[in-house]
């Protein structure tokens, strides 16, 4: 099968370029396996991974234009093109730098609460359907950045600086459902562009954590925001230009 990989060493190359490789297809092949095969059988490729199971979020790439974790992206026995994750600085070939993306989510996702949590709080029952089962899926976000890479509201020039993006919004949603969080997560979501998302559903389509329901989460946050009359889109940071 033909695998096309985007290569780029910023220390040497003026621009990224692509190269074609020929490797045998194997049953249930993942994009990670294809990259590794090229690396071992053709020539060195810079790529990165750790968990092989969509939980470390380290291996995400674009496969035929769609973002996903390479380790769990099944590829067909046809030509595939693998490129670095869109929207991130390329370190080399398929390795990108997600530090700032991650730091921003970390900061948003810190719990907001004034009083210390007691063990009684930890043991207290939790509403299973409306809290636990809504919260549980969101925990599986690996911060892989696949949704971020595909989100039109993040990348469209007209809305670029108005929307935090789906991965960060999931973090806010998680704290919204967290029974121990007392922050005003609805205001936060609106401030971060809850209404700037165009509800296209692309994030749901590419997310490797299949249990996360992005659109359903946005809808819930929007309902709460509407009930509080917080229905404004976020404006661009510069009022001109």
């Amino acid at each position: 099968m033909k695998v096309t990989i985007q290569k780029y060493d910023p220390a040497v190359d003026a621009l990224p370029y692509t190269k074609d490789y020929d490797i045998p297809y194997t049953e249930n092949m993942t994009a990670l396996k294809a990259i590794l095969d090229v690396h071992e059988k053709c020539e060195p490729i810079a790529f990165d991974y750790s968990c092989r199971g969509r939980v470390c979020g380290r291996c995400s790439v674009m496969v035929n234009g769609t973002a996903g974790t390479a380790c769990t992206t099944a590829i067909p026995d046809k030509a595939v093109t693998i490129e670095p994750l869109r929207g991130f600085r390329i370190v080399k070939d398929l390795v990108v730098d997600k530090t700032e993306f991650h730091d921003r989510i970390s900061a948003l996702e810190l719990r907001s609460r004034a009083t210390e949590i007691s063990y009684e709080d930890v043991l207290a029952p939790v509403d299973y359907d409306n809290v636990f089962m809504k919260l549980d899926p969101l925990e599986w976000c690996a911060r892989c950045g696949s949704c971020q890479a595909m989100c039109p509201a993040v990348h469209d020039a007209s809305s670029k600086d108005t929307y935090l993006g789906p991965a960060g919004m999931i973090a806010i949603g998680l704290r919204f459902f967290d029974p121990y969080d007392t922050g005003d997560r609805i205001s936060q979501a609106v401030q971060e562009g809850l209404w700037n998302c165009i509800m296209c559903g692309m994030c749901d389509e590419v997310c490797p954590a299949l249990e996360i329901e992005h659109i359903a989460t946005w809808t819930k946050l929007r309902e709460e925001a509407t009930a509080r009359n917080l229905t404004q889109k976020k404006a661009p940071l510069l009022p001109f230009g």
Binding site: A11, V12, N28, T30, L32, K33, H39, E40, E43, P44, A46, F47, D48, S50, C51, R52, G53, R54, V55, C56, G57, R58, C71, T72, A74, R89, V91, K92, D93, V95, D97, K98, T99, H102, D103, R104, A107, E109, L110, R111, I117, Y119, V122, L123, P125, V126, D127, Y128, V131, L135, D136, W140, C141, A142, R143, F177, P179, Y180, L210, E211
Partner: protein, 625 residues
Amino acid sequence: MLKRDERCKASASQGVSRRQFLKAGGILTGAAMFIGAGLTACSNDSTSQSSGGTNTQANGKETLISYSVYDTDILIIGTGFGGIGAALEANAKGAKVLMVDKGPFEFSGAAGMNWDQEVTWPNTAPEGITKCSFNDVLANQKLVSNVHQFLGKDAEAWNAALWWVRMGNTTWNRLSNGNFENLISAGSDEGGVGAEAGGVNLVQRGFSRHIQDTLKTQPITIIDNTMITDIFLDNGKCVGAVGYQVQTGEYRVFRSKATIATAGACCQMYGWLDVHPIGMNTPDNTGDVDAAAYRHGVPLVSNEFFGVDLISVHPSSLGASFNAGIGADGNHMQFVCDKDGEFFMRETNAYDVSRPIRDRILAGKGGEHGGVFIDLTSPEALDRTKLRPCYLRNVYMWKEKFNIDVTQSGYRIPVSLECFEHGGAFVIDENCSSSIPGLFGTRGYGLVKGHITQQTFVGAFAGLKAYEYAQDNDVKKVDWTAAEAEISRIDEIRTREVSAGIRPFEIRHKIQNNFYDNWEPATDAAKLQKAIAELERIKKEDLPKQYVADKSATFNRDWKDAIENYNLIDMTEATLRSALMREESRLTFYRTDFPEQDDKNWHVNIYCKLNNGNMELSKSEQVLV
């Protein structure tokens, strides 16, 4: 976009004078990292000395090498649970703490994997050390007792479930009525916890990202994507560590008053399956710092012991991954079956589940893949109280992404024992100190397998001991020669030219297959001797021919693999030799020529020490209180 460590850098080295190393000015002294703030306060240490006039030879040509120096009170190698515990404790005491990790922070190590971790803790502060949750059969009882005292008698200090929530975790797993689910662990008799209390508390659904997020709120400097390749010794003392930034190739020297090495368990010798060894641990843990300490004369211990669990080995592209695979661990054995479909694990209540599984395989009841099976075709199997949620989610993922329906009648999932932890580590004493002053560790006290709570507790204790040591240890004036020699060593590995060379991954796979084929499902003297002979051959014939195909210093996998191979070989040799010496079977360690546990002769640790270029083994009595 700047990396977080570049932000903190006061100066970077540029032009270099000939025949010497250029040491860039002191980089930072425990600068705080503020999330969201663009720039971080950095202090420029203008007192840094110029380097000695060492030069390096590569390809017969003089090479000019520069490196950057980072200063701190406490250096912590590894941002996993051991590192987190150590960092929080040393930071709370007021020390300047710098953590360094090989991978991108929060994407690396077990703590950088976002799955529903199981967390254990005793109900109350245990009365005696045999009942505390980080004890183990061969553990140094003085260390365990010290950690016990450090934690104290307050039940809250031991309550890992509470600590996790306070560190940002949300709720632990819930039953469908909304109640807190506490799975009491089996096997409280064997060095486990709280026999009187009916076992150890065990909850599921810890997501360690929250803990690392909270760590980032502290004034602790985190330097990631930086691989430590050696500890830095001066006058017999550890004064830091040496390594390089894997994304840029920049050499880095960390100077510290005390160093805690907690760089995880080396499981990379455990075979090879498409994209990874048959082990769920992270590819970054290649025993680098353990092997470095070993090369400086610190013995390695517990090498022959692994923590093992069952995990699917098909589809092989998912690489024995915990998180894309379907498996069974101690509490979830009821769907494990042999090739005849017999659910043989339902009858056993063995604490160590690996033995009955291996016996089944040895009895010819395993599958062609060399392991056993999991059968999830009964509807009750898909209940999250019966199948661990992290496996259950993969039933759906396999169906959706790979069109594999494991619930289909007659389907059996091939599973094998994979290693998630390796005991092998450099030896530490009752104060977490190695035999090199200034070098502390969190693992080498004779434990057989590690877990999260244990690593956090022992890590925190190591943080305290390192802090105390740092109080009266001055490293203002150090001799940089040893650091420069190490930089020369790793530079030579990248630039080496050899005809008919062997790429590092080829050598890696030879080490892995040689080990695994002679280890699972059980080993014996003949297999071990064969494996040692082949390893010796790899060392003698292949390793000198190892070459890095891509000479670039920017994110170079071959280079990283090549450096790691030296460490992996030492760790593998220690494992095989210790196994050959230990003429018994114990817990997960299984020799068919000595199938019984022999407490009379073998209730001891085995130390592997480097002496005149040879690995020497000795028995070491368990340290008792």
